[in-house]
């Protein structure tokens, strides 16, 4: 009987060594797009993904990590640089987007080139101006790093280090980056109230911005030409390069506005340094095109006070609990 109890206790300990972690869905949010059943989240899986995210071993010369362009303090975007830069000080073509609430995204990158979260790291790992490596080489480097064997073993049950597991581990960490506790959220939950300025800003937001920056994710995930003139140097036509359709010319994915105060500079190429420049674009700077977003075909007229109020509201989307969460920072 004693032996049976001991055996049962051992089984329980083994069963709970790495229990499934599971996504925590904020109240009132839609169901996630990511199919968790294909990549069961676990504490060990998330820990491995976090280590990989911050490890420059992913890059050809071991100098650039995911965190090099996606800083936790900037909602996993990249401030001070309009365009991402990579190994050998090479400059990329796009501004690093914020990596938050990815479980709800239906496509990734500014042009929606990647359709599934697991596959996203392949792009920066392979890009010559970012990590300058390739997946087979990256996996080889991981296999030669003694610490990773045990981490992969803990996360996946066997020590095999494969491309699939590397990508899924990174996904597990990325999926935990859920930002849903800004002042906006606390107001929606009835825990706080807006100031008069913020309330007015929210009213203006709902009239002029919410059709694309839809609550609660503050993006509808679609692609629009928002009247940004093409950059003559970058010649980046956005979604059209993926779809091949002329109606997608200069169309880029609606970014989330969550933590927007921390993710400057703005737009796909970081052309705007401040929120006031962004708002000015929408009130004065739209370049008309046949495929201009329907919502922008009529001028947006805001007084200076309304612009200030709108900015005040946008700042209520800052989730400092997320931004300074130790679980999102470098693991060492």
């Amino acid at each position: 009987m004693k032996q049976l109890s001991l055996f049962a206790l051992i089984c329980l300990c083994v069963a709970f060594t790495d229990p499934p972690a599971g996504l925590v869905i904020p109240k009132g949010w839609p169901g996630p797009t990511y199919d968790e059943s294909q990549n069961i989240l676990s504490k060990k899986g998330i820990a491995l993904g976090r280590k990989l995210f911050f490890d420059p071993i992913l890059s050809a010369d071991s100098t650039i990590s995911c965190a090099s362009c996606h800083s936790p303090y900037n909602s996993f975007a990249h401030t001070d640089h309009a365009l991402s830069h990579g190994i050998h000080d090479s400059i990329g073509r796009r501004n690093a987007p914020a990596l938050i609430n990815l479980a709800w995204q239906q496509s990734f990158m500014h042009d929606g080139a990647i359709h599934q979260l697991d596959m996203v790291p392949l792009a920066p790992i392979s890009h010559p101006s970012e990590m300058g490596s390739d997946m087979p080489s990256t996996v080889q480097r991981l296999r030669h790093q003694s610490s990773y064997k045990s981490l992969f073993n803990s996360a996946f049950g066997t020590p095999a280090i494969t491309g699939e597991r590397t990508l899924k581990a990174i996904s597990q960490f990325l999926l935990t980056l859920i930002s849903a506790n800004a002042k906006y959220d606390r107001v929606m939950r009835g825990e706080e109230t807006y100031t008069v300025q913020e309330e007015n800003g929210y009213r203006i937001f709902k009239i002029h911005c919410a059709s694309c920056h839809t609550e609660p994710l503050f993006t509808n995930g679609k692609f629009y030409n928002t009247g940004l003139p093409a950059d003559s140097f970058l010649k980046d036509y956005g979604r059209m390069s993926i779809s091949g359709h002329s109606q997608d010319s200069l169309a880029f994915k609606v970014p989330t506005l969550r933590n927007i105060a921390y993710t400057y500079p703005y737009m796909h190429d970081g052309r705007f340094k401040t929120l006031s420049q962004v708002i000015r674009h929408y009130t004065h700077g739209i370049q008309h095109a046949p495929n201009l977003a329907e919502a922008l075909k009529n001028p947006i007229c805001l007084t200076d006070d309304e612009k200030v109020d709108l900015t005040a509201f946008l700042k209520t989307l800052s989730d400092t609990q997320f931004l300074f969460n130790p679980a999102h920072q470098h693991p060492e």
Binding site: Q38, H115, Q116, M119, L122, H127, D134, M135, E164, L167
Partner: protein
């Protein structure tokens, strides 16, 4: 009575008797198997050397004369001409059933394309996944040739795309009229390369109408080697 008794003992064994047919895929050039990374020198201008011929064989099915079918338990196979093990498949089937058709998809189906990271033959480390735009490369044919207008005579044909209007997934059906224990399905690379116009387009790296055409040509190049 004795004969009936022996027959009753032996008949179930015969009925359950299985045999193995081996199917192998080989790229050929003018009737001969293409060696890995070796020059095929047709003449001074039309020399060619293949450094890579890799493609996905999915949903492989074999139909038999008795109306039954064998389905590959491996949903997606990456066949690499440099890896003979990947190019050979053993099919165990009833002794009295002969193969009538071999059918497979050349590429990866759209449901799998839309799914997340996968392992083994679908692992992205196999070099058959577009890193900059989601999607598997259905077939990758690379090398050098006197026919290519590339400065280094290179060519790289990455035939992929799973979304309309540039879906390069193709179904291939091979009728088998004279079944044998070993069946060789060869890809007639000579006729495929003739369709490629390497002088005007030596690199294909994205879904396009050209990729669709070449995928159809590549699918048509699969033939059963006659005895």
């Amino acid at each position: 009575m004795k004969i009936l008794f022996i027959y009753a003992l032996v008949f179930p064994w015969f009925a359950a008797a299985q045999k193995t047919t081996q199917i192998s895929f080989q790229p050929h050039w003018k009737g001969s198997a293409i060696p890995t990374d070796s020059l095929i020198n047709t003449d001074a201008e039309e020399w060619i050397q293949f450094s890579s011929i890799k493609w996905y064989c999915s949903s492989l099915k074999v139909s038999f004369s008795n109306g039954t079918q064998w389905q590959d338990t491996k949903a997606h196979r990456l066949i690499d001409f440099a890896d003979s093990e990947s190019s050979t498949i053993d099919i165990t089937h009833p002794f009295d059933a002969s193969i009538t058709h071999i059918q497979f998809l050349l590429g990866v189906d759209s449901l799998t394309q839309a799914a997340g990271a996968m392992g083994h033959d679908l692992d992205p480390t196999n070099g058959m996944y577009w890193t900059w735009q989601s999607g598997y490369i259905h077939a990758k044919i690379e090398g050098t040739s006197g026919l290519s207008s590339h400065p280094k005579k290179e060519f790289a044909l990455h035939l992929g795309g799973y979304r309309h209007p540039f879906n390069t997934l193709r179904q291939v059906t091979i009728p088998v009229h004279s079944p044998k224990n070993q069946l060789v399905i060869f890809m007639d690379m000579d006729s495929f390369i003739n369709q490629c116009a390497l002088a005007s387009q030596h690199h294909i790296m994205s879904p396009s109408a050209t990729a669709c055409n070449l995928a159809s040509h590549f699918a048509s190049s699969f033939q059963l080697q006659q005895p």
